[in-house]
Amino acid sequence: MSRTVDPKLLEILVCPLTKSALRYDPDRQELVSERARLAYPIRDGIPIMLVDEARPLDEGEVEGEVGAPPDLAGGRNPGVDTGGRP
């Protein structure tokens, strides 16, 4: 069974790693965290918000590379360490 994610849910969902907002990609069925550079898959309509299950973004995929918001300007991966999961 496949279906879209509830828009109300998208309002409160954030990246579990950076707690930043997510971008919904309906074509790939993913929730994209630009800040963590991770894409969380949506399987059977259920967002899988686990860092271990997320797909690292390719270089060209990160939007806002030019004219990035100030919090992204300081570094490529501010405060993010995906290797340190307990």
Partner: protein
Amino acid sequence: MVLRMSEQQSPSQAGPGAPGDITHFGFRTVPMTEKAGLVGHVFSTVADRYDLMNDLMSLGIHRAWKAAMLDWLSVRPGMHLVDVGGGTGDIALRFLQRGGGAVAVVDINPAMLAVGRNRALDAGHLGDIDWVCGDAERLPLADASVDAYTTAFCLRNVTRIDAALAEARRVLRPGGRFLCLEFGRVTVTALRRLYDPYSFRVLPALGQLVTGNGDAYRYLAESIRRFPAQQEFARMMADAGLDLVRYRNLSGGIAALHSAWRT
């Protein structure tokens, strides 16, 4: 999966210089990085029979415990709840039956969520519940986004309970309510004499019979003994910044209901 009931091994066996990297899996000591996978295996294999087993193991008493949690929650229309670890929808469905507003179920196990979503569809709740696969230690919810946080028989399985409590506080709005239903320490001596043989002998046998996985229910009995006692858990809640911490024993302390607020 082999679970032993032997005494806990010395933490030093995890290797020098890494005392913080081990945890419990039932009575076993395991690396912290392994616990989530071991717990995941337990729940994936029993998901389909999880609710049936709860009825059989507790003779249906878990229903009264869950009702007690919702009584204490004082559900009101428009209330936005996150239930953590309630993949099969047991708490979420009760919340809706009592007139609650929106509810998001966050569970780390997709198999448990699949059971819950099918059950909700059967009960006629199409789109009333949001199902999210997520980790209690790293909730994928915005700060101050919910009115209430409930968790029933989940935190025992979480690797870092303090991290889960901190996340609970973070996602609660000021004035929001925290409720945790979990196994406790039995306070009635006569009951304890029955409870120990029951949980270490009867439960694994029953689990083997019903789910085909006796080890999962041996883990259950062991993990109950590993979970902090009521007073200690209350202190952990306070340490996480939750206020007005209280608890109530249920069925002589077999279970306990913990309450706190984010002020």
